[in-house]
Amino acid sequence: MVLALTPVFAFAQGFQVNLGGVKQIAMGSTGTGTLQDGASVFFNPGAVAMLPQNYVQAGFTPLVFDSEFNPSGTNATYRTANKIAPPFTFYGVWGPKSACWKFGLGVYNPFGGLTDWGNNWPGKYALESLNLKTFYIQPTLSVKLTDVVSIGVGFVYNRATINLTQAVPLANQQGQDGQAVLNGTGKGYGWNAGIFFKTLSGVTVGITHRSGVSTDFTGTALFSVAPSLQSQFASPNGFTSTVKLPSTNSIGVGIYPSPKWTLAFDANVVGWDVFKTLSFAYTVKSANTNQSVFPQNYQDAVSLRAGAQYQCCDKLALRFGTGYATAAAPDGYVSPQVPDADRVYLTGGFGVKISNHFNVDASFEYEHLMARTQTTIQTQLSGTYETNVYIPGIAVAYHW
């Protein structure tokens, strides 16, 4: 007997995290066209050479992704566990005071997702939990060409991890589902480049391109099913998968109406169009474990952001911002991994100058993904998703 029950692996549209730096988060995650601190390594490598100082800084932005699902035709609601994803940032920027160049290094998590729906919800055969993390490590060189314009380029090495669990619809004698657990690590390479203008009118402008990063995963798949079926599910099995993380093109401006005020605007186009399918190829192939191809069919997404900073006094800056982003997942391709939808967010925060060389910044972001009623074509999982994201952040910076 051949079981015609291929486990349905439908992990993960990548999920862009947009937590590049705490000051920038507080200002609506703007930063392409402004010059704040070492986070320019991420926001605009072209701006790094314009930074007035050298920086070493670290930020931590724990993120809670709180999704709710209401299956179509029911009164039931299911909610992701309140697990905290831990994105962090590290930036270092250094160059001789007199030189026209600066070297930068950034470590940050531009994509990731942590959704844990548990093993007791209607979509458990599509997904129980997903934990995807990316760590981009980016050495950067930036050169000030004139007092007006600087450019920069960075090389990106991505180190990624994935953990995915899914129920397999084959019950044992106790009526318990089978389980599939995938654990893998991946790596990929990319680059980015930017240009930054300090115009004579005082307005600053930045344009950047962050390349896509095709990330190759290898890992181990564990299947546990009823003993009489176990021989049909090689376990442990190996898998390989390539995930195409998208490119981002950004343009931003900074406007300075008074010495105390900074206004920043960013527009981004994220090239999600590359993420059309996702496939896992298993090392030991069988009728049940061969290759799984999952259509994602993403389309390019746009985000618009605005933020402001008010420097109350020498010691304290207040910041706030907002933004809007369009969904990358089209109708029919929204799944529990990331219940993608158009989203709005509000941010706020402040920065305190502890000493001449030492700053502490804090931020909070509230993000709301609009309610979206969807039937995933592949799994026929049908219902309404609605999500809130809460992201407090804190960063410390030493600069000289």
Binding site: D66, T74, N172, T384
Partner: protein, 426 residues
């Protein structure tokens, strides 16, 4: 603050959900499918996952009344006994082992003029699920039926063979406010599962007359309800698992010269004649394929069973092409009756015929579960190849609920199919 900001999707409020339905006393009328029969028997775990009990559970979320089933007790949980999957043979065929402990059998009596009837521990008390395994629509006005069917007898106060209460009187003795009715399957299925040899199809006009009578009584006080059509017998794995091709291939593996499998097939009326089997002849799931090729005594001497026109496979093991067509003709007529009566009485209809036909043709994907009509692997049908798994029953329950909601504008919530398991594998 976090809890105040939690996403909160608006769901339907109960008062709106029931529209103008009165769900205070829902009863279910039907046969083994309604009783929760599975894996070749009626047992507690099957009863607890019967589709009417799932429907009732969903109704209760919007104010439906209590729903009582004639459950077997915990120490007699295995009821009539059933089949359990205990492994696979090297060739991949399943090993099914009968469960014979903790039964609710109280005795076997011989009813004159009928034969042996297995009797079960009596159930007394309130009742909402009137599903009786084995019952045909044909039986609902037969006063002695309570003496001949142990599953009905256990619901009645009297002991066989002293019963005179008809099924129709029994189910309508206490008024209901809403009903589901899925009678009629056995009027065709009993003929089909006996290979067209051990039972008869209920006459079409009799079916129509009894169906009208049944629905008239159930709706006597203007009750609303839902009825289901009779599935095509060829859409169930009982008739689609053991195929002519598979049997022939098995024989040819040992004896390549064999060119055909011979069956005793319907010619017309009640005339049967041997002929070579084709892919359109359906063998029953329980056909012991090991019999094929064994030498049997015939007027022409000892011949290998099933391999010559003089030693054809007995009619009881095969629903041949003409019998299939005959059965289908009757089922279509029954379903015309069901839909016509339902329309006249403004009842919701779950078209099980079309639904199972679609599953057979296209399979079904629900919440990431791939399902189809295949035996064991398909996930919908239980080990007997006729009745359903809890997952199959939950899907059927949702089809009933959807039909009710569509007809009456109600919003009874659907059940979570992923909460109900399919086949239990060892």
């Amino acid at each position: 603050m976090l809890s105040a900001c939690k996403p909160s999707i608006d769901t339907v409020k109960p008062a709106k959900a029931v529209a103008n339905l009165n769900l205070s006393r829902y009863i279910s009328v039907g046969n083994s499918l309604t009783a929760g029969y599975a894996d070749g028997g009626l047992y507690l775990a099957g009863q607890q996952n019967s589709y009417p009990s799932i429907i009732a559970k969903q109704m209760q979320q919007v104010g439906g009344g209590p729903f009582v089933q004639p459950l077997f007790s915990a120490d007699q949980a295995n009821g009539s006994g059933y089949l359990k999957l205990t492994g696979f043979n090297p060739n991949g065929t399943p090993v099914l082992t009968p469960v014979t402990n903790n039964l609710a059998v109280r005795g076997i009596i011989s009813v004159p003029g009928f034969g042996n009837v297995t009797l079960y521990t009596k159930y007394t008390g309130d009742l909402n699920n009137y599903g009786v395994p084995g019952i045909k629509l044909y039986h609902i006005t037969y006063p002695a039926y309570g003496d001949l069917n142990g599953f009905f007898e256990r619901l009645l106060p009297g002991n066989s063979p002293t019963n005179t209460t008809t099924y129709l009187d029994f189910i309508t003795a206490k008024p209901c406010t809403f009903f589901s009715n899925w009678l009629g399957n056995n009027d065709a299925l009993s003929y089909a599962t006996s290979g067209g040899a051990g039972d008869v199809l209920t006459d079409k006009n009799t079916f129509a007359q009894l169906y009208n009578l049944l629905i008239a009584k159930l709706t006597a006080n203007g009750q609303k309800g839902v009825v289901a059509t009779v599935p095509d017998v060829t859409s169930i794995p009982y008739f689609n698992t053991v195929t002519t091709g598979a049997i022939l291939a098995g024989v040819q593996a040992a004896a390549p010269s064999v060119k055909a499998i011979y069956i005793n097939a319907l010619v017309s009326g009640s005339t049967y004649a041997p002929r070579a089997a084709t892919a359109n002849d359906l063998f029953v799931l329980t056909f012991p394929t090991s019999k094929v090729g064994q030498l049997v005594s015939t007027p022409y001497g000892m011949l290998p069973y099933g391999l010559t026109p003089y030693s054809p496979i007995d009619s009881q093991y095969v629903l041949d092409e003409k019998e299939v067509a005959l059965t289908l003709d009757y089922i279509r007529s029954y379903n015309e009756t069901i839909k016509t009566v339902a329309a006249a009485k403004n009842l919701a209809v779950f078209d099980a015929y079309t639904f199972l036909e679609n599953v057979k043709m296209n399979g079904l994907v629900i919440d990431g579960i791939g399902l189809n009509s295949n035996y064991i692997a398909g996930g919908i049908f239980s080990l007997d190849g006729v009745h359903l798994t809890p997952r199959g029953y939950s899907i059927v329950a949702n089809e009933f609920i959807s039909a009710i909601n569509a007809k009456y504008g109600s919003a009874i919530p659907l059940a979570n199919v992923a909460d109900y398991h399919g086949i239990l594998f060892p």
